[in-house]
Symmetry: none
Subunit: 129 residues, 4 copies
DNA sequence: GTGGTCTAGACCACG
DNA sequence: GTGGTCTAGACCACT
């Protein structure tokens, strides 16, 4: 289920964090669901257990999961909310990015095309939650 | 004119590269214009000459500037083209980003708002080139 | 195994890059094989770590190796392909070079001799890959 | 007649030297012919007079031209011979280059194709000398 | 331990 | 004066 790309420049633990966030947003991971164990996931991904641990710690810090010592790591009930808030703050960054594309000669129509494609894709996978 | 943020996680030389690309796109830097010297810019920014050098090398590699040893570093005639091509490839990445925002509950209207703001900003600074 | 000539006009890091490319072509370095560490190789060659780093960066840029921060530097699965493509583009340069030799009075037979010697040498080291 | 490429990595004076050698080989420059003055050529090429001077010095060192103080710079009677000798020594380097191409998967046929093209081009421009 | 970045300062060839 | 390379040694994030 989880997968990482060791060729990527992005840190492995960061890839894992983003992947978990996506799974939550897409409903693959539900509230209170138990995450795989650090050891188990580290073997599945062939990465160092420390790397998985670091990802879980970061997710904990963001309020997306909570760890119960001796029991495991679980998706927080407010996970979606926290991810949403975090994304909110990225809108200004998005504006800057699009501004750059505009200056590079990319037409407004093409950017809108990207927006439509993204929301179309979302519409397909939509389910009541 | 140039400025960098030493607190940023982003490498200094990378910040410089992006800044030059922006200046070219915005028409601040014209084709064949001479860039500041490696040593000069390094003093202006209070960074090591090697850092500026690294940025210039990368810009050279991307075809945005050309360096003439003993003379200086100049904006390439095709600079805008190369930056444009590079940006083209980023559209699919943009789609993915917007998809994430969509999943995070950001409405299509708000994203379109970002697009409009970006192109409005571009419209203001527009000049025939 | 690796060796460089500090007296050569050619930059040290460039010598290293070419040497690695040769080793890949000759099958000395296989896909997914781990390269020596930056520090290790710098000691072996008695050069500065930065110099080795620069060579590895260039090889990474060319797609011949991929660097995983914290793990090491590995030969890319497509290394041979990338080197091949790069070499393809050099055929026109080769023609110009031979043209010069022709004008300098070198007979066609002697040039063909070089070609034969090169392919003979290759035939000796040939192994299925 | 002369022209240089400031975008090239190759030093300007070296480009000039090679160009003169080629002109001699191709019969454009004949023995005892007078070369353009340093000042004149430097203006024609929009380069520093020092650069032209350096090229002439190198050509002198190689025995391809000889300078007569107060009169000018002339093509040496043995120019072709000296260039030829110099080219002789490059055959082993050529072999190595072709060996690399062979390892990169370039077929012998394609290399021979380059050789044929070079000698065909020479045949066209051939004149008794 | 790894790769990546940065500083400080040197030397070289070129113009 | 310029860009390009190199050394010496430091710090960081990641595994």
């Amino acid at each position: 289920m989880y997968q990482i790309d060791i060729m990527s420049r992005k840190p492995l633990y960061e890839q894992l964090v983003e992947q978990v966030e996506r799974f939550v947003l897409r409903g693959v991971l539900a509230a209170e669901e138990q995450m795989p164990s650090v050891r188990g996931l580290s073997e599945e991904l062939s990465v160092n257990p420390n790397t998985v641990q670091k990802a879980y710690s970061e997710l904990d810090r963001r309020g997306i999961v909570y760890s119960v010592p001796g029991k495991g790591c679980f998706i927080s009930p407010n996970a979606r909310t926290f991810i949403g808030n975090r994304r909110e703050g990225e809108l200004s960054r998005l504006t800057e990015e699009i501004y750059d594309l505009a200056l590079a000669g990319i037409t407004r129509e093409r950017v809108i095309g990207c927006v439509d494609e993204a929301y179309r894709k979302k519409g397909e996978n939509d389910d009541p939650s």
